[in-house]
């Protein structure tokens, strides 16, 4: 397997003999290998620690979803479109969880045209309700890569220089119908510093390879639904910022939350600016967030004030992105037999039963497999290290 020459693409290598992965032990049971595979699955996080690299924290991402005829294919259950939309809801949730001050817009393409499903916005609810409604769309015709990228580009080129401009294309068809030369568009995208990444659902397409290579994005083709989910999770993390992106001081407002109850004498009901788009009812509410510059009211943060243009956030939103700036190192794996010390996980106080324990390089405490996963995925700080009181 190692000596074969010049294997540039994974599909050229063919399937390595997959039945050899499973090995039987002396009694003929597969239990040990199955446990091994499950254990490796738990640990499959690719720790792409970029090190001390500037990250693009404020992201403007457009997701282009291909809704052409090939999306009715049933290789993903129940069909590709439903599966993709469900994973997109998960992606939108995770994206706003990890990047609270960023924005997403959704574009769909079919019948050789492209249209915007939702505009660039920082509120996840709007996108999720649009995605839920989109399950009923008919998949017809061919997608148009040129038109969808053009549509995304028209909005992204007006975005300020310090934000990262990205497009993620979920491309299922093997063809694209473009009104003019796509290579010119690729040059324009490169000039505007827009990074395009593609997730292919069928097979590798050469124009996507060139597109992603030129603009600095990534191109992957999915194997199955789990792999699709993993690839989407990969795009949730902020990418390294390109060297030419500008850094600037952004003026932001931190509004106070006014909670008023009906019994409060001074509180008056007022209209909220965020309900201007909804036609469902008058939307009079008592409390809310008041913009410090123009006193317009909003019900949720983060939002860009429609009246004065000030970005309104709250301090926890910024704090949520801090763990990207101070990433945690991976723990060292050590087999259980070699580990001296009490056989208890420092975090959950459970007994250490798995075949390896994980040691923090700073404080040398041992953790079990589930706690290690929890610490690196969700908590982002070692429970024993934060007892040392020197970190801020």
């Amino acid at each position: 397997m190692d000596e074969e020459p010049e294997r540039t693409k994974r599909w050229e290598g063919g399937y390595e003999r997959t039945w050899e992965v499973l090995k039987e032990d002396e009694s003929g049971s597969l239990k040990a290998t199955v446990e091994d595979i499950l254990f490796k699955d738990k640990r499959k996080r690719v720790f792409e620690n970029y090190g001390q690299v500037r990250l693009g924290m404020m992201r403007h991402l457009f997701v282009v979803i291909d809704t052409s005829r090939t999306m009715e294919d049933q290789d993903l259950k129940p069909n590709r479109l439903t599966s993709t939309l469900k994973l997109m809801e998960y992606f939108v949730d995770e994206y706003f969880d990890q990047n609270p001050i960023s924005q997403i817009g959704i574009i769909i393409t079919k019948n050789k045209r492209a249209e915007k499903l939702t505009d660039l916005a920082g509120n996840p609810q709007k996108h999720i309700s649009a995605l839920k409604k989109a399950v009923d769309t008919t998949c017809a015709g061919e997608p148009s890569l040129y038109n969808s990228l053009n549509l995304a580009m028209h909005t992204l080129k007006h975005m300020p220089g310090h934000t990262s401009r990205e497009v993620l294309v979920i491309f299922s068809s093997l063809t694209t119908c473009d009104p003019s030369n796509i290579y010119d568009l690729i040059k324009t995208l490169k000039g505007l510093k827009i990074r395009v990444s593609v997730i292919g659902l069928s097979a590798e397409v050469r124009v996507c390879t060139i597109l992603t290579r030129e603009t600095g994005g990534t191109y992957h083709v999915i194997l199955d639904e789990t792999h699709f989910r993993e690839l989407l999770t990969f795009h949730v993390k902020p990418p390294p910022a390109s060297s030419s992106s500008e850094c600037s001081l952004i003026r932001m407002g931190f509004p106070q939350h006014a909670i008023a109850s009906v019994s409060d004498q001074d509180s008056k009901p007022s209209f909220s600016m965020s309900h201007l788009d909804n036609s469902s009812g008058p939307g009079l509410t008592l409390g809310g967030y008041y913009c410090p510059q123009c006193r317009a009211k909003y019900t949720e943060l983060p939002v860009e004030c429609k009246v004065c243009g000030l970005t309104l956030v709250s301090a926890p939103h910024l704090a949520r992105s801090f763990h990207h700036l101070f990433p945690m190192d991976a723990f060292q794996e050590m087999p259980l037999e070699e580990f001296e010390g009490e056989r208890f996980c420092e975090a959950c106080q459970g007994e250490l039963k798995d075949k390896s324990v994980f040691i923090c390089s700073v404080c040398s405490s041992a953790f079990c497999v589930e706690c290690d996963l929890f610490i690196h995925d969700t908590l982002h700080c070692c429970p024993s290290c934060i007892h040392s009181q020197s970190t801020s």
């Binding site: 600037s248 109850s261 410090p292 700036l325 929890f374 700080c381 009181q389 801020s392």
Partner: protein, 291 residues
């Protein structure tokens, strides 16, 4: 009402800062650490009795470590010997409760006896205890109750926020019962995770407040009239003066907040592009060719 098989875990994090409790013993001798722990034990017993499948964990948050008072590792080994359990329920109490209370009192005695407070470490390690509480409540539905005595420690802000977001992501509710001074960090934690924050007016009535406000779990709270939510101050503090500001400038690279515009960010030392006012070029009028 929760279904019969649902395991519900309550983790109580008790602040046992010896400096604060030592001063408290001199201020008000009728409310000491032992009285506080008695109230916690009453609350723990009540929780265990509410439902057969309820579980309890108690963590003591000290200046140097966070220690699990219950369930205790050392007692796990001794559980096999069932003789001790029979003798501990002298007053006819349900055995599980008697064993629990004994473990808690034994562990807290050991903890306070063996730890020595060194000069500069006077702040309670609350963020660390909360992190351990989160790790222990992963497989089941859980909630955390924090009983806070001493003041906030500003150094722990970032770790605290990480813990709060991890709790919110896993739908773990953090409630706070504050004995003395208001804590901004815990107010934010309760607001973000959807828990209850209460500053107790009279410390000697701790047991009453715990049973009234904090014993019912999340599904039952909608049917009770509980203390109203407090106003949480979410304004950010600027990095240069630590003032609370309403409008500020945020560095796009490191997200530090400043109250005034400055050409260089002090945290990450990036030079900023200063937006200059646009030069309006005078429009050149096209001269009509003379016909």
């Amino acid at each position: 009402m929760a279904s019969e098989d649902e395991v519900s875990l309550l983790v109580v994090v008790v602040d046992v800062n010896p400096i604060w409790w030592g001063q408290q013993a001199q201020r008000e001798p009728e409310f000491t650490l032992s009285k506080c722990l008695d109230s916690v034990m009453v609350m723990g017993n009540s929780h265990l009795v509410m439902n057969r499948t309820n579980k309890l964990a108690i963590i003591a948050s000290h200046c140097q470590e966070s220690h699990f008072l219950y369930p205790s590792k050392h007692w796990k080994a001794g559980d096999a010997a069932g003789d001790d359990a029979v003798s501990s329920s002298r007053d006819g109490k349900y055995e599980v409760l008697a064993v629990t209370n004994d473990q808690i009192s034994e562990e807290v005695r050991n903890l306070m006896a063996r730890t020595e407070v060194k000069g500069h470490q006077t702040d309670t390690l609350l963020a660390g205890s909360l992190a351990k509480a989160l790790c222990s409540g992963q497989e089941m539905k859980s909630r955390i109750l924090v009983i806070k005595a001493a003041e906030d420690c500003a150094l722990q802000y970032m770790n605290f926020m990480n813990v709060i977001f991890a709790a919110q992501k896993n739908s773990i509710v953090i409630d706070a019962c504050v004995l003395a001074t208001d804590s901004g960090l815990l107010q934010q934690a309760c607001d973000i995770t959807g828990g209850l924050y209460l500053k107790i007016p009279q410390k000697s009535a701790l047991a009453q407040y715990l049973l009234w406000v904090f014993l019912p779990d999340a599904n039952q709270r909608s049917q009770l009239v509980l203390p109203p939510p407090v106003h949480v101050d979410y304004r950010a503090a600027c990095f240069c003066h630590r003032n609370l500001i309403e409008i500020g400038y945020v560095c796009s690279v490191c997200l530090s907040i400043f109250c005034n515009f400055s050409p260089i960010c002090t945290t990450c030392e990036t030079a900023f592009k200063i937006p200059l006012p646009q030069m309006v070029k005078p429009k050149k009028k096209k001269l009509k060719p003379a016909t």
